[in-house]
Symmetry: C2
Subunit: 292 residues, 2 copies
């Protein structure tokens, strides 16, 4: 097949071969059969599974080895591990290698990359594929995970255009649609539409789980509860990292959200049926418009 | 077929032939072909559709007419209309008729029934089928909506045992599993597992919809947001009524929920990664146990 990348990466290193890293590997191989994909994972069982399932060509057991000679290095580790991984690989990256990530927050990663990668920072391309699920691990990886999904690429003031273009073409080869945003805008938007609902959902389940008679409450929970709390089934470490990495936005947004809850409480306290119905109606109409 | 009711209701009146009332009518007819089902709905278009779809045998245009000679009267109207409907039907109910409801809150309905039904109050049986969806209207009605679903029957200190037993058998004939609870317990449990999440979900969508750049936020909302906000697509009038009817529980629970949010905020503010991860983990584990 024609080279979809123009500057075709021959060797791709995936650090963290989970759902996202693994799906990227599968989609890249589908797009360019002759690519070599090497993988590293701190979880040896997961790494062995990645090799066995054919997601990666070889399983490498050290960070310095996995980045050696790689043309593209994808960091698909939880956001909280980004610092230690960047520190460790910085000295072993080849002088032309492109480094990219898939983190759900971007401010902290961009800052760390600029600080820790030295001259290689201009080949660092922050990206965030809007795909995923509460499942994790390489066994959930699928080659079509990114098909027709958005990948947000974040513009920094230190990334060179060519690495940006190459990472963009990799994602396009995976079937994704590219969107671009600034770092702050990214963290603000995803803080509201993704991180905040995760915290709210975890908090409701925590609220019930910590009651003495939690069992009765869970017994009567039905489909509305199921959907509302599906995201509370997500990985606690990953969401701890995201919360901390997007702390500024989240503290602001938690405040705004509670101001709105207090507005609702006041309306309820004073039996203001018009205010309550209009509050619900604005939300219902917006939700309908969104889903259509 | 054998009479599944022992005391077989010959004529069932459905007041409010929507998703729940309509599905009850379909399931009852499936269980006992010779039943006559009469329906009333304030929405004439919906009422005509109920007749046309064969959900009811006849469409009646006044409350006094629909309850006349009915053996079982099911009130399937929004909780906020219960008062005016009870007032209007009280004088026309036959001296043996059983009155039951399907409201999502029970405290207010029980109080109103006792106050407004006079001697007929001892034939009032409060019930709450745990089924339904964000869809409403008779066109969403299905004869198997209650199959293997729970119906919570609420014990009052004024309901006679026979009416209670007959309503119970009606629901069993619809395929439902019967659970019993006190009024306060019912409103407390459903306040937490159903009403609270609805308010939280509406509030998040309201939060986004009222931003100047709402469009960008909605554009990047993905599957986590979709599930979390599915219940924000619910009927605003119905949920205004439920909120007001269960006000005491909800004010208490909104407070507790915000205390937990504040606990989380404090942990985030002080970078307490252990507290955050453990908060998420308790929720995640409970959510997993629940779904298994």
């Amino acid at each position: 097949m024609a080279d979809p990348f123009q500057t075709h990466p021959r060797r791709v290193a995936i650090i963290g071969v989970g759902l996202i890293g693994g799906s990227f590997a599968l989609a890249m191989r589908e797009a360019a059969r002759d690519i070599t994909i090497v993988g590293y994972d701190r979880d040896e069982v997961n790494l062995a599974a990645a090799k066995q399932l054919g997601v990666i060509d070889s399983a490498v057991h050290s960070l310095s080895q996995v980045v050696k000679d790689a043309d593209v290095i994808q960091l698909s580790v939880p956001v909280g591990q980004m610092e230690s991984v960047l520190k460790e690989i910085a000295k072993d990256i080849s002088p032309t290698a492109i480094i990219t990530d898939v983190g759900s927050t971007k401010g902290n990663v961009v800052e760390l990359a600029q600080k820790l990668l030295g001259p290689a920072a201009k080949r660092f391309v922050p990206a965030h594929p809007i795909a995923g699920a509460e499942n994790s691990g390489v066994r959930s990886a699928r080659k079509d995970l990114f098909k027709d999904k958005s990948v947000v690429m974040v513009e920094t003031d230190f990334t060179d255009p060519l690495p940006f273009e190459i990472v963009k073409r990799c994602w396009q080869a995976c079937g994704a649609k590219i969107e671009t945003m600034t770092v702050n805008r990214h963290d603000s938007v995803f803080g509201v539409v993704s991180h905040l609902p995760h915290i709210l959902s975890y908090t409701l389940v925590y609220d019930i789980a910590t009651r003495i008679d939690a069992e009765t409450f869970f017994h009567f929970a039905a489909s509305g509860f199921r959907d509302f709390t599906r995201i509370a089934g997500s990985n606690p470490e990953m969401w701890k990292d995201i919360s901390l990495a997007n702390k500024t936005t989240l503290l602001l947004e938690l405040q705004r959200y509670q101001d709105l809850l207090r507005y609702f409480q006041d309306a309820l306290e004073s039996d203001d049926d018009e205010a309550i119905e209009s509050f619900f109606k604005i939300a219902r109409d917006a939700r309908r418009d969104w889903s259509e």
